[in-house]
Every structure is written in C-alpha cells, then in structure tokens.
Amino acid sequence: MRKILIAVTTVMLTAGASLFGASAAEKLKVGFIYLGPVGDFGWTYQHELARQALVKEFGDKIETTYLENVSEGPDAERSIEQLVRAGNKLIFTTSFGYMDPTLKVAKKYPNVHFEHATGFKRDKNMSIYNGRFYEGRYIQGIIAGKMSKAGVLGYIASFPIPEVIMGINATILGAQTVNPNIKVKIIWANTWFDPGKEADAAKALLDQGADVIMQHTDSPAAMQIASERSKLAFGQDSEMIKFGPTAQLTSIMDNWAPYYIDRVKAELDGKWESDDTWGGLKSKMVVMAPYTNMPDDVKKLAMDTEAAIIDGKLFPFKCPVIDQDGKTVECKGGDHLADGQVLGMNFYVKGIDDKIPGGK
C-alpha cells in the first residue's frame, strides 16, 4: 500500500527535481530522503528543520530536494538513485533502514557523496552520523528519579534494537543515582508511530502505577495523556511542550542543522571526506528542551549533569556497568563502556525487572 504511494510521490517529486535541474546547473544540489511526512512533529520534522537551516545558511549557493514517506528497504534504493540522476551531489538518507540501499547506490556512483543517519556501514563516499541520545536519556533518568513519587517510571519503547535498549539502560542508570530502588515498567509498542497505540500504552502504564512517562516512539500522544491525568512526561525528538504545558519535564531534541551545515560547507569547499560522527550534547547534535515543571533543585541537578557530560567528566555508561543477571560487563573504553559496546547493546542493566522481547 504504502509502497505504491511512495512510488507515486517519488516519481512526482523527481520529475519536479529534474525540471529544476535544467535551470540551475552550477548550484550544489543536496538531496534528502525522509522516512515520514515532514509534518510528523518528530524524527522527520527535525531533519526538515535542518534542511531549512541549510537553505537559510547557503541561500542560492545550493538547491535542496527532499522525498518524504520513503519506506525502508528496496524502494529506498530507487528513490536514492533518482536523486542521483536528478543531479544531487550530496545526499542525506535519514533513517536506519536506508543503510544497505544507500551503500548500494554509493558503490554505483563513486562521485556522489552520501550521508547516512544512524547506521554502521561506511564507504569512501558514504559517511555515517548519529546522535548520542542516551546522554539526554541519562539526564531524563535523573529527573524522573527525583520527580517520581511512586518510584515507578513508565517507558514506551518501540523496537528491541540497541538504540532503544541503550536508551532504557541510560535512563535507569541515571534514575538509580538519585533513587536506588527505582522501578521501570516497559511497554513495547512495536511501532515508531501510531498515536492511538502510544496513547493506549501511556494509559496502561499510568493505570499500573507509573507516574512519569518516557517514550521512544514519535508522536506527542503519550505527552497528552500524561497531561490529561496531571502526570509528568518527557518529549521525544522535538519540543512537545505545547501538548503538555504542565506535564513536559524536558525533551531530547535532535539537532541536525550544525552537522548538515558543516557537511555542505565541506562539500562546497571540495573538502568532503567520508567520516563517522556520533555527536552528543557537546557538539549540540543532541539538545535538551528547557527544564520545566520541576523544582529548582532538580533543575539545577539536571543542568549540572548536562554540563558534566559536555565537559567529558561524566559518562552515562561509566564502569562498572552491571547487567541484569549481576554480571559485570567488560569495560573496553577505559573508565566507561566503549562506543562499540554501547552501539551493540543487547542487555538490560541491573535494576530492570523485565526481559528484552525475543532476547535471551
């Protein structure tokens, strides 16, 4: 279903793109592949904001095109290739599932540069970039640990992949620093985006006694439920305070603009090189929304933690990290877990009384 839709959109958009191509030959053309609609108010929206920042920064030196609603998998390959044919020299593919398609197209067109978000496969002309969202989640954990009266957090998770699991672990590790007995209830929605289901999950968590809701799904539905019931919640991807003025504590915001501007500048200067970027709070790829609806001491604690992470004094996964079964995880990064260990995280830390679905 979706595929047909996407094919149609793609064809129309590319037709538009090639028309533009004829009129402005010497501009640098930058293409984007989006997973959702630009108005999803979450993941794709943040990439779109960064694209708009590019346009503002470089004006008529560049020309941007985006394809939205491109489903992950084989269809993506065709869409990426169409961007190449339309003359785009730098192409951002903004979801994990575009990894293999991007790599395939990159091999075919060595003169075009590709930037793939959240993946782990690179090539001479294909960079990867991602945000250390777990740094933000650690801060959220601390806030949640302080703010939860029941000592029970509700976590709406999407899919059991390392990205999500590291978020849950970072949250609980943060919360344990202020409340060693903190409990977390985890519900897997098995979707990134289904407002109704996310709302249902939030209701279920609140009904079961959680009083702070955090989510790794994309819509503001959970925020709204928390707000309706006078409970607290964290936003996801974007600022969601509009949906819960008295509920939102903070939100982890993806901020791609500085990186995109950097990369386009490099491309314009002819200095683009394949790279691997994992930016966090320090490089402002991850930004925390204002700390709201909490007492000043909690706010100060959150800000101090943020500063410590930025200064490199604090690592959310500092050793020793003890897993659910009480085993100490091997420490490969000196005094904290190595990036590789975090990126492949497939275990819960001690204090989570649950099992990863499909896990051991």
């Binding site: 109704g196 289901k197 009904d207």
Partner: protein, 305 residues
Amino acid sequence: MELVEAIILSVLAASTPLLIAATGELVTERAGVLNLGVEGMMIVGAACGFGGAWLTGSTIIGALCGIVAGTLLSLVFALMTLGLAVNQVATGLALTILGIGLSGLIGAGFVGEKITPAPHLHIPGLTDIPLVGRILFGEDAFVYLSLALVIAVWLFLYRTRAGLVLRACGDNHVSAHALGYPVLRIRMFAVMFGGACAGLAGAYLPLAYTPFFIPGMTAGRGWIALALVVFSSWLPGRLVIGAYLFGAVTILQLHAQGAGVGIPSQFMSALPYLATVVVLVLISRARTGGSTAPAALGTVFVPDR
C-alpha cells in the same frame, strides 16, 4: 479493581473507531460492494474532522465534517465502481492511497495544533457509582453512538423491507434488478453510508482519542475494520463482539507487558490478525451451513438496458 475499570474504559475507547468504521463497511458489503478504501476515508475524516473542530471549537461540527469528507470520498469510489464499472478492489486500494495523500494536504495547516477532546458524559449520581458508573455512564458520546449505530443497522437489515432489498442486491444483483429494484442506486447509498461511517470513525481519533492531527494517524485501523467485517461473517451482532475483542487484545497486551507477563509482545500484537485468519478458516469450513459472504460481493454490475 480500579485497574479493571481503567482497562475496560481503555478497551471501549480503542474499540469504538473500529466498530463505527466496520459497521459502515458491513452495510456496503451487504449491498455487494467491496470498498477497500476504508483506511483512506478514515484518514480524510480525521483530517477534516480535526480541521472542523479546530476552526469552530465544536466537536459536533468536527464530527459532521468528518462524516461529509468520508461521504464525498466514497462518492468518488461509487462513481468509479458503480458508474464506470471499474474493478472494486483496485479502486478501493487507489482510494486509500488518495485518502492518505489528501489528508496530508488538508491537514498540513494544522499539524501541531491541539483541541479540547470530546467531553465525557457525567450524570451526577449514576456516573459516580463505583466500578460500573464510569463504564456505563461516563463515556464520550461516540461510544454510545457506535452502539446505537449497530442496533440501527441490525434493525434496518433484518426488520425492514429496504434492508431486505439491500441484502438482495448483495446476494444476487441480477435477480434484484429483474424485480425492478434500482441496484446501482441502492449500492450507491450503501457506499455512501460506509463512507460516512469511515469518516466519523476517522474523526473520532483526533476528536476524542488523541486530540491532535498528524498525517497517518489512523495507522492501519481501516484495515482492521475490514478484517472485522470478515471476522463477524457479515453479522452486526458479531461485529460488536469482534470489535471489543480486537480492542481488548490491543489493550490487554499493553497491560500484560507493563505487568511483566512473559509473552513476547510481537506475538500479542499479531493476535487479532491470527484470530481473523482462524475465523476465516472456520467460515470456509462451515460453507454449507453458516452465514457467509454476500454472494455478489465485489462483482461489478452493469444493468442491461
């Protein structure tokens, strides 16, 4: 016990859009027309319903906008399949694609806006009865409307002459035509009713369930409604059971996860669909006896003049 009450309240809310959309589709299919565009009509209903409520501040106007939008889109379907005798499956699928695109366009202006959700009934005394009070007397109007709708449809289909004629069109359009009934016109009304219901069901989502609009927010509920019609073997009574069963499984699996019950969530998410497959198997086995699909379902009718 409070948890049980909370679960039942969530189940009722989750089932209502499914029930409304499926009731409309049931009437459409009973007239012999298979409209696979429910998802498309729902999402357009959601966009227009939200738009109406956002502009006027009235839930009722929002609901009406949803109904009108769903009906208009279903008329496109009627024009194609009844007027031009195009294949119903292909047109229905195209309608969904059209609807998703159209809703994004309509909704682009108010993504990120929010409205006051539909009020819940509150009868002093009755609503305050412990346990059953909020379940029976504390819902939003859509929940009661959906049940009234099913009863009305049941009465219409089985207790009125018009309902009998409609079913006749769905079972054997040639005979109905030979008896002098305007098959195409009856089918058009059935398609419009289906569209109106789908539009209303879609509007329920931003008006009462999650009071904001985001493209794609129906997230496949239209397809579940289609499955429900099959699940109910085209009987309104079973439709109610089916809708609440689907809703219950959705909500209970979330609660089971929160409570740490060790059933894989992926399996629980798949349960409603597994149930549909099982029912389909049972129906096909009981082919000779039980009530099954309208005999002329999905076939194109061109009257010879």
